[in-house]
Amino acid sequence: MNPNATAVGGIYGYSHTTGGYDGGQAELVRVPFADVGPTIIPEWMSDEDALMCTDALPTGYFGAQLGDIAEGDVVTVFGAGPVGLYAAASAWLMGAGRVIVVDHLDDRLELASRFAHAETVNFGQVDDVVVHLKQQTDHLGSDVVIDAVGAEADGNLLQHVTSAKLKLQGGSPIALNWAIDAVRKGGTISVMGAYGPMFSAVKFGDAMNKGLTIRANQCPVKRQWPRLFEHIRNGHLKPSEIVTHRIPLDDIAEGYHLFSAKLDGCIKPVVVPTAA
């Protein structure tokens, strides 16, 4: 529950704008509605697979569902971070015919190819990513595009600096604008990338004139668990495969910097309290 705003609900560690709850990285955590929220981790599940089930995996899986993917659809995912990788892998479960992942970090694209069986595009290597994607999709565009980037998107210096750095926008809508242009007419955009509550410079006229459906939400995590547990048990998804770094609690400040600055090929770091 979130008294501070009518958007979303309460989220741990998401500041006073989502209910003013402290983050979960603490010795003790208050759990409102403990008779509703938690679930028992199956005995067969590894700790790291269970950890991925708390946020990134269900978010990616939910993002693919928001795309309303039909059999044979061409699905493009912007962002090869944890959520984007899981969204790409989930798109296949829903019957995608092609899955294309776009990023500018080679390590992440390599994982998108290996982990999510996706085609990849490094937008740092192409002149115009939208034209490139059109060329790869019969000049129609993708049926579904998933924005798994959000507020700190790179790819346009003006957008990045005015939003991520100077906070003049509620988020850098570079990926969202590319999604609007890269999807086919009448296509669907699923927005998993997080944006702030203030306005962003979104190309809404293009979205309107192309007749797009834009669907967005924070993920209802618990609703995804029973099916995700099945997929993990059946070997359809192996979420812990994207973990690249295990950080002792004593080094957490450097661990955050490693993740934030995307150093050392970091894709998903895990904090390990006992490894200190």
Binding site: H236, H257, K262
Partner: protein, 190 residues
Amino acid sequence: MSATTPYAREARTGIPSADELRSRIPGWGADLDPADRPSYPREIDAVPDTAHWHLPEQQEEAWPRERSIEHARLTPVFGTSCPPRGLSGAVRKLAYARYSEARAAHWLLLLAADRIDVKEQAALALLRGRPDDPVTQTGILGERRYHGLSSRRRGHRVDTVHHPLDPVIVGLPWIAGGWAAWRLLRRARR
């Protein structure tokens, strides 16, 4: 005209068959039926069967809890970890009491309050004898351990274009704050 033009009747090409995809991709099509996906239907009864309450018990209000004026009432449960204090608290209370979420003033005041809060907390930490340490607490030392330079030079990263700017944006408030403190100190000594 090429058969692959979008103006052709069957324009989409290159989609492998379901059998091929099933043999290549683990779990392909396991959630093929949209009506059998976890998020279908889109809207469901929000109260799960495991809940013992109809309306949750009202949490005790330790202070007049700031809330969006778009809400009919204070929610039964709320966070208590950010009680409004000092100047930043006064600005936050004003933002919540006066402006709805539809007003830019609401969010701009909250953004300003965040900035003021950072300065208040930095001053408080200094007074308590545990000043913030921008070297160890920002994790910047990770640049050495995690190959900062080579990580950025590798591949085709586009964010390198603003990396020289990042330390300026992070460091400028510290430099400006130090300069202001030095000016104040010098003025007080005169």
